[in-house]
């Protein structure tokens, strides 16, 4: 009997129909996988056009500014890391960069790095241990020529108290510290610590008395995957592929893939929005006010559909910090504590952080070195808001400020939302927050000065506790510290933190540091942690999105264009 459902070949595998289906599926998947793999294979060439928040300040000098306006550009010019870097595949792990390997003495006081031999400055000079020594000497000790003095880098203290830096030979560098420095490579992996200072170009100028010579003064000669093509102040930073860059991809192909990156200087985030929507930009800028709010991201998504993708990263901590070295009611710890108790922190997320964020005291959530008991907020202030506010009023009265007081508040013109939020919040406590709204230049000057009572901003501290001293430490040693205080007890706590070797020790000390900072002294009121959102056109591939801190992975060496 003929089965009409059987074709001429039906009898070939009459008893294995399931096998045929599986085979067909496998073949289809293989073909699809091959096609996807081919499509995903990075292509070389092309120009990536990104917005940049502003001109990189301080002559592109990474020793004097942590501005994202520099570091968004600086990764391409100066490289993804220092001797070490945060790994692209795992942000919380340290990978080799300019050093191939390193070792430490048993007491963690002496660190020796073996440098790679194939790293070159953009002018063709080989990078040697003498170059690294020059950079570390500038960082730790600054420079002096006659009466002219160059101060140490703003982050010098964070790296530890070095006593000696030596170039043992062309490829070996040794750094000796005064104290045990158990986590030096993790601290050094901070992407802000870029080597942007070619010895062969800067040293002669410093010896001639120009101690504050900047990378811009010597032509922005770096070690990164791209070299300077053109810089037009206020308009454009153009970088071109550096053919002698040392990094390779997993297939052995030389990085970077792109021919060129154009960073268009766009201080106005809304002009940037218009440029991105009209297809003139491949990616938006990094930096406060330029990061997309929930409303702006939603409108991008609605209007641009699948042609846009978003990179989301844990951003900086929105906080209120006091200048305790300046006379005023805020010198009383009870007053600072009252302010901390009074602020409705979750309300800051929609009102001041563009709708993205969460409440946390300080350290990022994804850090494997920082167990979650460090970070859950409100860890310290778990009582309901009404109870906390009643306690705040009691503390204010006890301190003699039941009727409140006026307090100056330094804030950046590009992010007044946070200041408006705090002003409205503290009005209920009787604190008249008088806003000093300043531009970026004045902000960079004033925040390291004594010219304010309190300040507010969003800066990302290091994701590891040992790397937070430059923002939480004593003013005399850390001029860029959020709060200005002269508390030597914190020197001691940070010294103990650096000397801690086991995780248990680190946790114990960091708990003491954070409790001391945020509770007992309340030098700083951490309000909430922002989530930074950047948009890219979907043809931009290979972007490495850090789980936190958008200063990271700005080299764009692995980026390619699928169009």
């Amino acid at each position: 009997m003929h089965d009409p459902n059987k074709g001429p070949e039906a009898g070939l595998h009459p008893r294995r129909p399931a096998l045929r289906v599986i085979a067909a599926i496998v073949c289809t998947l293989l073909v699809a996988a091959t096609a996807v793999a081919a499509a995903e294979e990075p292509r070389g060439g092309g120009t990536l056009t990104l917005a940049n928040r502003g001109d990189p300040p301080a002559g592109f000098d990474s020793m004097f500014t942590s501005s994202i306006a520099l570091h968004h550009v600086g990764g391409a010019l100066f490289g993804a890391g220092n001797l070490v870097m945060r790994c692209r595949e795992d942000f919380y792990t340290v990978c080799p960069y300019l050093a191939l390997r390193w070792e430490h003495s048993p007491d963690f006081k002496v660190w020796t790095f073996v440098l790679r031999g194939d790293a070159f400055w953009h002018d063709g000079r080989r990078f040697t241990a003498e170059d690294a020594k020059f950079w570390f000497d500038l960082v730790f000790f600054g420079a002096r020529s006659g009466d002219a003095v160059r101060p140490p880098a703003y982050f010098a203290r964070e790296l530890g108290v070095a006593t000696k830096v030596e170039a043992l030979d062309e490829r070996r560098l040794r750094i000796t510290f005064a104290h045990r420095n158990a986590h030096f490579p993790q601290i050094l992996a901070n992407p802000r610590f870029k080597i942007a200072h070619p010895r062969h170009l800067m040293e002669p100028r410093i010896q001639a008395g120009q101690v504050n010579v900047s990378p811009l003064d010597v032509g922005l000669v770096g070690l990164g995957p791209f070299k300077l093509g053109q810089y037009r102040r206020g308009s454009l930073v153009r970088v071109d592929r550096f053919d002698r860059y040392f990094e390779r991809d997993p297939r052995g192909a030389r990085l970077p893939y792109l021919d060129r990156i154009d960073y268009v200087i766009m201080p106005d985030p809304f002009a940037m929005d218009a440029a991105f929507r009209s297809g003139r930009l491949d990616g938006t800028a990094r930096g406060q006010a330029h990061f997309l709010s929930r409303e702006r991201a939603a409108s991008y998504e609605r209007d641009l559909g699948e042609t846009v993708s978003f990179a989301r990263s844990d951003g900086g901590n929105f906080r209120l910090a006091f200048n305790v070295l300046k006379e005023g009611p805020w010198q009383d710890p009870r007053v600072r504590r009252a302010i901390a108790l009074w602020i409705d922190k979750p309300a800051a997320i929609p009102l001041a952080l563009g709708g993205h964020g969460w409440t946390t005291p300080s350290i990022g959530p994804g850090d494997i070195n920082v167990p979650t008991e460090f970070i859950n907020w409100p860890r310290y202030d778990t009582a309901p808001l009404a109870e906390r506010r009643a306690e705040a009023r009691r503390l204010m009265a006890e301190a003699g400020y039941a009727d409140g007081f006026a307090m100056g508040h330094l804030t950046r013109a590009i992010m007044t939302e946070g200041a408006e939020f705090l002003k409205a919040q503290l009005a209920g406590l009787g604190v008249d927050l008088r806003l000093q709204i300043v531009d970026e230049g004045e902000w960079n000057r004033a925040r390291v000065s004594m010219d304010y009572d309190s300040q507010q901003g969003r800066l990302a501290p290091s994701p590891i506790p040992e790397g937070t001293e430059s923002v939480y430490g004593r003013y005399e040693l850390n001029p860029d510290a959020y709060a200005k205080h002269d508390d030597r007890h914190l020197d001691e706590l940070y010294r103990r933190l650096r000397e801690s070797v086991t995780m248990e020790q680190r946790i114990e000390v960091w708990r003491r540091v954070s409790r001391y900072l945020f509770l007992e002294q309340t030098y700083i009121v951490p309000v909430a942690e922002s989530i930074d959102v950047v948009a890219y056109r979907s043809h931009v591939r290979g972007i490495v999105v850090p789980p936190e801190d958008m200063h990271t992975h700005t080299d764009f060496a692995t980026v390619w264009l699928d169009r």
């Binding site: 939603a298 409108s299 609605r302 806003l435």
Partner: protein, 268 residues
């Protein structure tokens, strides 16, 4: 049309004066739960990104915008009229010097001049008023001089002079009243210009500092961050600003219209 415009201006002025009494909400009060709410019976103009009532902020913003504009126009009116009348009456070297200075000041575009002054003085309502006044003064001076010249050679002034009247008496008692109608009409128009200038400076972040509302600042806050999601944050204060300026122009025109009896030359 003129009456409707005058009525609208009266309402705006009255609202500004009584904003503290009639505003349904505190213009600075933030409320996370009512963020970006659309216009409703509770919030006539909706709410902004901080959950603040846009209607209340518009009323209080009127106070700031009108106060700055009135102060600027008053200052420009007094200084510009004095200089213009004196210059037109005295003539000669004094007139020459004043007019060359006015020429120099007029060489700067109005807003550029205001921007320079505000940046130099630092943003604050008084600085904004001073900046707008300085930018308006040369314009008022020119109009006042022209008005003075048109009556300076009238026969009755020769008679007044022959009676021994001094220059100050002639300028204050005769020249000023005769020049007043076109000057007042011009100053009414200047009020619209000043409101627009204040809004522009605030929009550029050089006006009233946050969180205090002014119309320009409200436009800036709404248009930059929320125009797609919550257009009412921009459109409502924008509409009030636009109507106010248009009404000021209409009323100013009416005041300067010679067909209206009071605006014609004074008869002696």
């Amino acid at each position: 049309m003129r009456i409707a415009a005058a009525l609208f201006l009266a309402v705006v002025a009255l609202s500004a004066l009584t904003a503290s009494l009639i505003a349904p909400f505190d213009p600075l009060e933030q409320e996370v739960g009512r963020r970006l709410a659309p216009p409703s019976a509770t919030h006539l103009f909706g709410t902004d990104g901080f959950g603040r009532d846009v209607f209340s902020r518009t009323l209080h913003g009127a106070r700031v915008s009108l106060a700055v504009a009135l102060a600027a126009v008053a200052a420009a009116g007094v200084i510009g009229s004095s200089l213009g009348l004196a210059s037109g009456y005295a003539g000669g070297a004094f007139d020459l010097v004043v007019q060359r200075v006015v020429d120099v000041l007029l060489g700067f575009p109005f807003l550029v001049m205001a921007l320079i002054v505000v940046v130099a003085l630092s943003p604050a309502p008084l600085a904004v008023a001073a900046a707008i006044a300085l930018a308006l003064t040369p314009l008022v001076t020119r109009v006042a001089r022209a008005a003075a010249l048109s009556v300076a050679n009238e026969e009755y002034l020769t008679v007044v002079r022959s009676t021994g009247a001094g220059a100050s008496r002639i300028v204050l008692r005769h020249l000023l009243p005769a020049s007043a109608p076109p000057l007042v009409a011009y100053l009414a128009t200047c009020l619209g210009t000043a409101i627009g200038a204040e809004a522009t400076l605030s929009f550029l972040g050089l006006g009233v500092p946050p969180p205090y509302p002014s119309w320009g600042r409200m436009l800036q806050e709404g248009s930059r961050a929320y125009f797609d999601a919550a257009p009412w944050v921009t459109l409502m204060p924008g509409a009030v600003l636009c109507l106010t300026v248009v009404c000021l122009v209409v009323v100013g025109d009416a005041m300067g219209d010679p067909r209206r009896g009071r605006a014609g030359p004074i008869r002696h």
